[in-house]
Amino acid sequence: MQQLFYFIKKFRYSLLFILLEILALYFTIQHHSYHTSRFINSANFVTGGIYSKVNSINEFFLLKDENKLLIEENIRLKNQLSKQNSNSSNNYFIVSDTSKYFQQYEYTSAKVINNNFTKRNNFLTINKGSNQGIDRDLGIINSAGIIGVVKNISSNFSTVLSILNENSRINIRLKNSNHYGTLVWNGKDYKTLQITDIPRQAIINIGDSIITGGKSAIFPEGINVGVIKDFKFENNQYNEINVSLFNDMSSIGYVQVIKNLKKKEQKELEEKSSNE
């Protein structure tokens, strides 16, 4: 017994070091797994508060870019509206009622108060949380394309798993055909992402548009992602399909959070069918 005490006393710094190091590695590994990281993230009162204070200063310098994006989006929406007006006379159309019965997606605006894009695993912090109706696993987009999926929430802030992350898997498809694939990132360039799992029957050309697939119940179908930059076709299958993003991940201001109101219904139905 005495020897044990002697041992502990002699190596107490090393033991403390090993203990704390294990704790740190535990946090690291826990952070890598998708659903369990709860303690160490920037969606808490202190970090979120500091980020939003600093961001309100930075915001002032980004007003010009933000305005440009809004004008572009306005023009696009107006063009769509004018197309619809000319068609509506001879086609039937559905009135999108405010009641939630018809509505599938609900959009909320939020502001990015912290953005990373140079690391291997990147996260963003936005200034809305559970008090504003944000929940886990909601999609985040802006007018140019997709950004990520909500990971952790606190009462007034949330962290977003960026598409520039090892754990990010987004279902996408080619705009001109119905072949689906998965959007991943190899960590090299924040402007270029990769597509895997695309069937070899799909015909791909450089410059083809990529949109979200709508299979995942997070993103609605048809949100812009990017265009195909280059690819290799080897051994009768696609290797290394690179996509250049429409979105500039290095400067993101305001974003929209997408809530799928029928997600629960869809998930339950899918689970029921797969269990049978």
């Binding site: 704790l23 740190a24 535990y26 946090f27 826990q30 993230n41 808490n44 980020y51 140079t118």
Partner: protein, 168 residues
């Protein structure tokens, strides 16, 4: 004594904020972000309680992690260099030069300061990038990131120490 506690606490908060609000967003050449916050480890007095130092450096790394959403990567690396700091110093300075009680980094010659900072910085950065990429396939990327970021960090750390600490 109180002065020492106050200056170290202020340095703690100041360096965390400097790191997460400014240095994490520099992105030199697109990807280089210096991790100057570890200067806190270099400057912490040696005569202080060692277990307190280990716990504080763990919390120090963890607060950087909390801001940058990186799990416990910075905590692990910062704790490691805090643990090996004395051994590194003992190797760099010969026993005769080593004054345990009155250690002041500015009393060393510039080449020894450089060696001390460079060793700890490279080890720290290597751990950070290894844990971040966490795969053998990315070994080249890890080395590349470690070397370039270390150069950046070492330059900024030495400049900061020379400019902002008093010579005894």
């Amino acid at each position: 004594m109180n002065n020492l506690i106050l200056s170290n606490s202020l340095r703690f908060i100041g360096l965390v904020l400097l790191q997460v609000l400014i240095l994490n967003h520099i992105n030199l050449f697109g990807y280089l972000n210096p991790m100057v916050y570890i200067v806190w480890i270099f400057l912490f007095p040696l005569k202080k309680n060692r277990s307190l130092f280990l716990i504080l450096s763990f919390l120090f790394g963890l607060s950087v992690d909390m801001f940058s959403d990186s799990g416990g990567i910075n905590a692990a690396a910062t704790l490691f260099i805090a643990f090996i700091r004395i051994s590194v110093l003992k190797t760099i300075l010969r026993k005769s030069d080593f004054d345990y009680l009155l250690f002041n980094i500015r009393s060393l010659s510039i080449d020894k300061i450089f060696l001390y900072i460079a060793t700890l910085t490279i080890i720290h950065h290597f751990i950070v990038f290894s844990l971040e990429y966490f795969s053998f396939n990315a070994f080249i990327t890890i080395l590349k990131n470690t070397i370039f970021t270390s150069i950046f960090t070492i330059i900024l750390s030495i400049l900061g120490i020379v400019l902002f600490t008093k010579k005894k």
